[in-house]
Symmetry: C2
Subunit: 214 residues, 2 copies
Amino acid sequence: MGKVVAEISISLDGYVAGPSPSLEEPLGRGGEQLHEWAMRTKTFRELHGMEGGDDDPDGELLAESVQAQGAVVMGRRMFSGGEGPWEDDPNATGWWGDEPPFHKPVFVVTHQEREPLVLGETTFTFVTDGVSAAVEQARAVAAADREVLVAGGAETIDEALAAGLVDELQLHVAPVLLGGGTRLFEGLGAERPRLELVSVRESPHASHLRYRIA
Amino acid sequence: MGKVVAEISISLDGYVAGPSPSLEEPLGRGGEQLHEWAMRTKTFRELHGMEGGDDDPDGELLAESVQAQGAVVMGRRMFSGGEGPWEDDPNATGWWGDEPPFHKPVFVVTHQEREPLVLGETTFTFVTDGVSAAVEQARAVAAADREVLVAGGAETIDEALAAGLVDELQLHVAPVLLGGGTRLFEGLGAERPRLELVSVRESPHASHLRYRIA
């Protein structure tokens, strides 16, 4: 069976989104900087239907992840584009437009029952019985040898870690201090997993730290 | 003139000491794990007058730092061994015994005026007019080409960063989640420096991330 990998970009001071998210800045103030390592790459731009971008180790790493992953799990805040009054819109279509970059099944952990949403090559399935159920459904549709990505946000990754669902944790540590926002690991409580380093990959844009959950 | 380097061990969830420091656990609950990467090395054990230990990349990195550094700046909590009722003892002699591992001048930022304290090859000078003054004095005694180490704790490093005193920041990221304790970067306020990655060095015991302050 494929691994379950939680993967997220994080600032050096531990934030996965900046303060005061809004419709203009869904990732919070300064939050876009967390994703620059990816957004500048050819891989990222291709996934988003754009040309250009850098062909470099960050792009290779991103491409490896995308190829390895057969299905995605995310929280409803990630789906709706950050925390805010709009996040409970029952007709939200995500914030990626008509061609979301996933091109694979995505399972959204939410409280609102809803029919699946098909946009381009991506199908969003809404799961109302928690992150464990979402990971289970994702595993069922991913081919046997492909990974399930738990993509965020913080709350969803913390829940998955605390529930023992995650095999590996990949952090993309951006060289930036946000000074506030949403922290990873705050929702773990006493259920803190033990970690073993798998690999470190380095670029000026992010230090990619990968851990096995022991 | 030598660089000013702030260097500290930190958990993956951003703590430089664990919760509830006490005389028995001056680094807080679980805090010793942050320093295992160093404590297991031959370099560390030699500095502390002990035999044995591993001769490996972590030890090499530690030896390079120690050789590069001509003087040390630390806060009074680091000097007295963590936060607690004992930290204001005016006769404290540090928590390293008669032969502290520094073997060079150490400047302790404190509110209490006090005569210098000589223990073995280490002289502790107590500086009551803030971290800038301590760094200045440290620079004056370090040879021109040797670095000044700002060794901690969090408050002292944050003050030094906010005051623009630091040229490079070296974080030893231990593969551990402490779940509470003392955070680095919390005291920066709006004075958040811009960072550029200098180098990443990897071991199973810590990811050593070095940044230049832009």
